[in-house]
């Protein structure tokens, strides 16, 4: 049982009924694609073309097409891999961790955020697979016996842990997302007019009818998936950080990496969720579902995780000095003042200073500022990975092998291309799938319409006002009970 304070902001504004929720969310699925969507998809498809061309060059001519050299053997590929995996983490955080904490506001953003997770992990997986050089042998990373005997994969290697972590994370996120989609597909199926839509959504909805018994099991399944996804999401970025932390490279070999990477992942993920949501809510007219309160709450999470990342940067520097290890100290001095100083200070500005602006209420509640901040954070988090990876490698123990790294056009092409891949998938999702979890929004709708204060508009300082129980959607005879749900 949960008591909902009458002064709490409503989760959904505009006095929506259950039917309104269905209408608003199904509208863009049922309508013909609009011009803005087509324009966005064309841009994404052009970038996807860049991706395919770059992949073709990489496969046909080999890894020599990339800017890697003998000293810097890992650069943009692993930077982009970590960046994309990190972005994915916000989706699981919203769908799993916030479910466990009973944060009801997650209901209107979890669907799109989970989709973002899945698409981001697909983009991330491209980099290690392409770096293999012969991706058609990618199944060698799984424990199969080789053709000569029973030589197995090395279970002591963090890179192999990554294989298991990413595979588990991707497949579990996919079934979590799909199971949540099934009831909403059923809604679209029962409204569908065209014969193709009827069959397609009937297949997708797996014959869901919304019987009480199925809902009971569905809730159990969701809760357990959330329960195991929570440690899973933490384990994934922990293992990603161990790709670095278990090595002996100065700048990588630190115990702070797992929590620091997890915080950074959530930080960048929420930035990406904000970028996407701010666009989605306007394009699909969902401002009543993804309200300014949602944006402010996500901003707060970004501020907390951003501050953790900031503390981690400073701690790393302090420990480098405190350890009195000459090489460790040099690695950090070189980061801040060496030839890559601009990357380091871009990272510091974007990731340490930017989230602190969110303390100001006006910034937190401003849509244009939030949008700009979210882009800056995404750039900053890309630089963080670049700084960790390239500046730690480019000056190794032997000064004769010190080099600079410069990306080739193919490096840039693959990175830009994965952004195209991501947006192609996201735009297709947004057109053909319900972007908001209708069933979950309906389940939190009633007390926010009837028992919450009236939302008076865009002024965040409004005083809560009491109002008459609305007559639409809910019969006046219905008992109004704060403790009814949950």
């Amino acid at each position: 049982m949960q008591h909902v304070s009458p002064v709490r902001e409503p989760l959904v504004t505009g006095g929506k009924t259950y039917h309104d929720v269905t209408q608003d969310v199904c509208r863009q699925v049922e309508a013909a694609p609009n011009v803005r969507w087509m324009a966005a998809l064309s841009v994404a498809l052009v970038l996807l073309g860049v991706f395919f061309y770059s992949v073709y060059r990489t496969l046909w001519y080999g890894i020599g097409e990339w800017g890697l050299n003998k000293t810097v053997g890992w650069a943009w590929d692993i930077t982009n891999f970590v960046w994309w995996v990190g972005i994915g983490h916000a989706g699981t955080l919203i769908s799993a961790v916030l479910l466990l904490f009973r944060q009801k506001w997650r209901t209107s953003i979890n669907r799109a955020a989970e989709a973002m997770t899945i698409f981001a992990v697909i983009c991330a997986a491209m980099f290690p697979v392409l770096h293999m050089g012969r991706p058609w042998l990618a199944y060698w990373v799984f424990p199969f016996q080789n053709t000569f005997g029973s030589l197995w994969v090395n279970f002591n290697s963090p890179l192999l842990w990554d294989v298991f972590a990413i595979s588990t994370y991707f497949t579990v996120s996919l079934v979590f997302w799909y199971t949540g989609l099934v009831p909403d597909f059923a809604t679209i199926r029962d409204r569908a007019k065209g014969p193709i839509a009827k069959v397609a959504y009937s297949l997708l909805s797996m014959g869901w009818k919304g019987s009480a018994k199925h809902w009971s099991r569905y809730e159990t399944v969701s809760l357990i998936l959330a329960g195991v996804s929570t440690p899973l999401v933490l384990s994934v970025h922990t293992i990603v950080s161990m790709d670095f932390a278990t090595s002996v490279v100065p700048g990588w070999h630190t115990t702070i990496f797992p929590p620091y990477f997890v915080a950074g992942a959530i930080f960048s993920g929420f930035a990406m969720v904000l970028t996407l949501m701010l666009i989605t809510r306007v394009v699909f007219k969902l401002e009543d579902y993804i309200t300014i309160e949602h944006i402010a709450l996500m901003n707060k999470i970004m501020m907390v995780t951003g501050s953790i990342v900031g503390v981690a940067y400073i701690t790393e520097f302090f420990i480098a000095w405190y350890s009195q290890v000459e090489f460790e100290q040099y690695a950090f001095i070189n980061r801040a003042t060496g030839p890559y100083w601009w990357a380091y200070w871009s990272m510091m500005t974007c990731n340490v200073i930017t989230p602190q602006l969110v303390w100001i209420r006006r910034v937190r509640y401003s849509i244009p500022l939030t949008f700009i901040l979210s882009i800056i954070v995404n750039i900053g988090m890309w630089f963080e990975r670049f700084v960790i990876i390239v500046t730690s490698l480019h000056r190794d123990y032997l000064p004769s092998s010190w080099v600079m790294f410069s990306p080739s056009i193919i490096d840039i092409g693959i990175y830009v291309g994965t952004i195209g891949l991501f947006f192609t998938l996201f735009l297709l999702f947004a057109k053909f799938f319900p972007v908001i979890n209708m069933a979950e929004v309906k389940s939190v709708l009633k007390y926010t319409v009837d028992n919450g204060p009236t939302y008076t508009g865009h002024d965040p300082h409004h005083a809560p006002t009491t109002h008459q129980p609305s007559t639409h959607g809910v019969p006046a005879s219905a008992p109004v009970n704060y403790d009814k749900h949950d």
Binding site: T17, Y18, H19, F176, K213, Y218, I224, S477
Partner: protein, 174 residues
């Protein structure tokens, strides 16, 4: 075999919840209740037993853990022992990540496959439903009826308990 149903259509989940209790008290057997979203407390009202999926999930997870440990210990310790970085063949701390991941993998997929199987959810070309509004904004109580059922009385019972409509529907395959 054709089945006939009386459908009580409700507009509100709280009204439905009380109706479920009262209808069952009146001795009428409810075939099924269809709702657009999960309603808390309806399991108790309908007498649905608590799902044992969590127990299944636990054992799936345990299977995954055992499989992972067996796989790593057998391959690296017995089938093809190699010295890697001077560490022991069976380096248990290094086996923790893969063991954890496979535990989660087996637990989730085992549970989800069980859920779809026992709920008989699989892709279908056509999905007949009793009332298409039950996935939108109506709460539908289905009661199986035959020639001997007193429809007037049943209809009155449902209306007295807040049903906004009472319909009848025949389903050949349901």
């Amino acid at each position: 075999m054709t089945k006939r149903f009386a459908l009580g259509i409700f507009d509100d989940e709280d009204v439905l919840l009380h109706a479920v209790e009262n209808v069952r008290e009146a001795g009428v057997k409810i075939y099924e209740v269809f709702t657009p979203f999960p309603i808390h407390g309806i399991d108790d009202a309908l007498g649905i037993e608590r799902s044992r999926l969590p127990i299944a999930a636990f054992f799936f997870g345990l299977t995954g853990l055992c499989f992972a440990l067996w796989l790593q210990i057998y391959t690296l310790g017995f089938d093809w022992p190699m010295i890697i970085g001077g560490k022991p063949h069976i380096a248990l701390p290094a086996f923790i990540p893969v063991s954890f991941e496979l535990t989660v993998f087996f637990c989730c997929h085992g549970m989800v496959i069980t859920f779809y199987t026992i709920s008989k959810l699989y892709p279908r070309w056509k999905t007949p439903v009793l009332d298409v509004r039950s996935t939108d904004d109506k709460f539908v109580m289905a009661i199986e009826v035959n020639e001997n059922t007193d429809m007037v009385k049943l209809s009155q019972l449902l209306r007295d308990n807040g049903a906004s409509e009472v319909n009848q529907k025949e389903m050949s395959k349901f």
